[in-house]
C-alpha cells in the first residue's frame, strides 16, 4: 500500500509538469496548426542554459528562470517568424519535417557546445525530502507540481479574461473572422509560439533538479508531450492537464512495479489502450 501511494503521489507531481508541457504545444497548435517536433529539444535547450548559468554564475536553476524565460521566448519568436511562418499554409508534413530538422539542429548545437557527457545541475533543494505520513516526496517534485498548476491556472485566466487571451481563442476558432475584427493574426501566432517556448523554459527548470541531462534527451519529452496532447484533445485545457496526470502516474507505476525496461513501456501501453477505447480523448466534449 505504501508503494502504491508513493507511486501515485510521484506520478501526480511529475504529471502536472507533463500537462504544462502539453498546454504549450496545444496553444501553439490551436492558433497556427503547427505541431512542433522540436518541443522536447527546447526543453533540453532550457536545461542546458540552466547548466551554463550554474557553471558561469553559480545560479540555482530556479533563479535562472529569470534569464532563461525571456531568452527562450525571444528564440521562440524568431523561430516562428523566420522559420515556421513561411511554412504555414503548406502541407502539414512540411511543418513536421521542418520541426524535426530543427530538433536535430538543436541537439547537435547543444552537443557542440556542451559535449556528450551526461551532466547535472545542482540545486539547493535537490536532495531535500518532504515526508507526509507514509509518503516521501522529493521537494523538487512538489515545487514542480505547485508551479505547474499555478501556471496552468494563470494561463487559463489569461485566455478567459484578457484581450490577448481572447485574441488567441478568436484566432483558434476562426482566423478569418479574427482578422476582420482587427486582430493581427500573425502577431498572435508569433506571441503564442513565444509563450509556448517560455513555458518550456519554466518546465525545464522544474524538471532539472536530480535529472542527468544530455543533448539527445529532448525526444523523450517530445514523445511524452505528444502522448499527453493526443490524450487530452489538442486544444482542450482540462483534458490536457488530466492527460499529463495519466501519463505521469503510469510512468511512476511502471518504474516502481515493473522492471526498468518494461516500466518505461507502461505509459505507451496505457496510451494505446485509452486510444483504442476512447479515440476522442479523455474528456467529454469540454473544448474551450
Amino acid at each position: 500500500m505504501d508503494e502504491f501511494l508513493q507511486a501515485l503521489t510521484q506520478g501526480l507531481l511529475i504529471g502536472s509538469t507533463y500537462g504544462l508541457l502539453a498546454l504549450g504545444m496545444g496553444l501553439v497548435y490551436g492558433v497556427s496548426g503547427v505541431v512542433n517536433f522540436a518541443h522536447g529539444d527546447f526543453i533540453a535547450l532550457g536545461m542546458f542554459m540552466c547548466l551554463a548559468l550554474y557553471s558561469a554564475l553559480s545560479l540555482d536553476p530556479y533563479v535562472s528562470i529569470i534569464i532563461t524565460v525571456p531568452v527562450m521566448m525571444a528564440v521562440g519568436a524568431l523561430v516562428y517568424r523566420y522559420l515556421l511562418r513561411p511554412m504555414v499554409g503548406y502541407k502539414f508534413l512540411m511543418i513536421v519535417q521542418l520541426t524535426l530538422g530543427l530538433s536535430l539542429v538543436l541537439q547537435n548545437g547543444i552537443l557542440m557546445v556542451f559535449g556528450g557527457q551526461p551532466a547535472r545541475t545542482p540545486s539547493v533543494v535537490e536532495s531535500k525530502l518532504w515526508i507526509l505520513g507514509d509518503v516521501v516526496m522529493r521537494v523538487p517534485h512538489v515545487i514542480a507540481f505547485v508551479v505547474s498548476f499555478a501556471l496552468a491556472i494563470a494561463l487559463y485566466a489569461m485566455l478567459r479574461s484578457t484581450d490577448f487571451g481572447r485574441s488567441i481563442r478568436a484566432v483558434h476558432q476562426n482566423a478569418h473572422a479574427a482578422s476582420l475584427t482587427g486582430i493581427d493574426v500573425g502577431r498572435v501566432q508569433v506571441l503564442t509560439f513565444a509563450l509556448g517556448i517560455g513555458i518550456l523554459a519554466v518546465a525545464a527548470a522544474l524538471l532539472l533538479p536530480g535529472t542527468p541531462i544530455q543533448p539527445t534527451m529532448g525526444l523523450r519529452y517530445t514523445v511524452i508531450t505528444l502522448l499527453v496532447v493526443v490524450l487530452g484533445g489538442m486544444t482542450n485545457f482540462v483534458g490536457i492537464m488530466l492527460g499529463g496526470l495519466v501519463i505521469g502516474i503510469s510512468e511512476a507505476f511502471g518504474t516502481i512495479y515493473l522492471s526498468d525496461t518494461l516500466g518505461m513501456l507502461l505509459p505507451y501501453g496505457i496510451f494505446v489502450l485509452i486510444m483504442l477505447f476512447r479515440p476522442q480523448g479523455l474528456t467529454w466534449g469540454a473544448a474551450r
Binding site: D163, S167, R169, N174, A177, L180, G182, D184
Partner: protein, 234 residues
Amino acid sequence: MLEIERLVTGYNGVPVLQDVSLTLSSGEIVGLLGANNAGKTTLINSLSGMYAPMSGRILFEGKDITALTPRERVELGIVQVPEGRLVFPEMSVRENLLLGGINRRARPGRARQMEHVLELFPRMKERLSQDAGTLSGGEQQMLAIGRALMAEARLLMLDEPSLGLSPLFVQYIFGIIDKLHADGLTILLVEQNLNLTLRHAQRCYVLERGRVAIEGPADAIKDDPRTRSAYLGL
C-alpha cells in the same frame, strides 16, 4: 468617403475583379448587387485588406489605403460583417462584442460602445453570457453587426445579411440597417436579394463576372432591363 479606382484582384494570378471602380459618399447607403460568383465577396474582402490587389487603388477619405493590413483598416473604421456571420462560437456574446472593439481606436471607449450596442439589440443583453454558437441565425446576425459596431465602424460593410434568415428576422435586420443609416453611418450593402436591396439602398452597383455592369440610383437600376439579365447571367 471611399473611392475604388480600377481595382483588379484575383487569386493565384487569375483576376476575379476586373477594373472595378466605385465611390461611396459619407452617410450614403450603397447596394452592391450581382449573382453568385459575380465578385461581391471578393470586393468586400479587398476593402477589408484580405488580399493584395493586382492593380488599382483604394482611397479612404482621400488617403491611399491599398497597402494597409486588415488590422489597420479596422482601425480606420472600415469594418465588415462577414457572410455567414462568423461569430466566435465558443465564446460568450459579451466576449464576441469585446473582441469587436479590440482595435486601438475603439478600445478606450469599449464600455460606452457596448451599452450603445446593447441598446440597439436588447436581445443580446439577455444573452450576454451565452455562447455565440448556441444563438439562432438571426441572433448571430445581430451579434455580428453588434461586433462590427463595437469597432466604432465608420464604413460598415454587410455581406449578405439576409442569408439564411426567416422573413421576420430579415425585416428586423433591415430595420436596423435603416436605423444605422439614419444615424449617419456610411453603409455598403452586399446582397443577392435584389428587391430588398433596391428598397433600402440609395444607389447601387451591379457586378457581373467581376465587372461593374450597371450603376446608378436604386430607382433607375430597378427599371433597367439589364439588371435582370445581369442576374440571370444572360
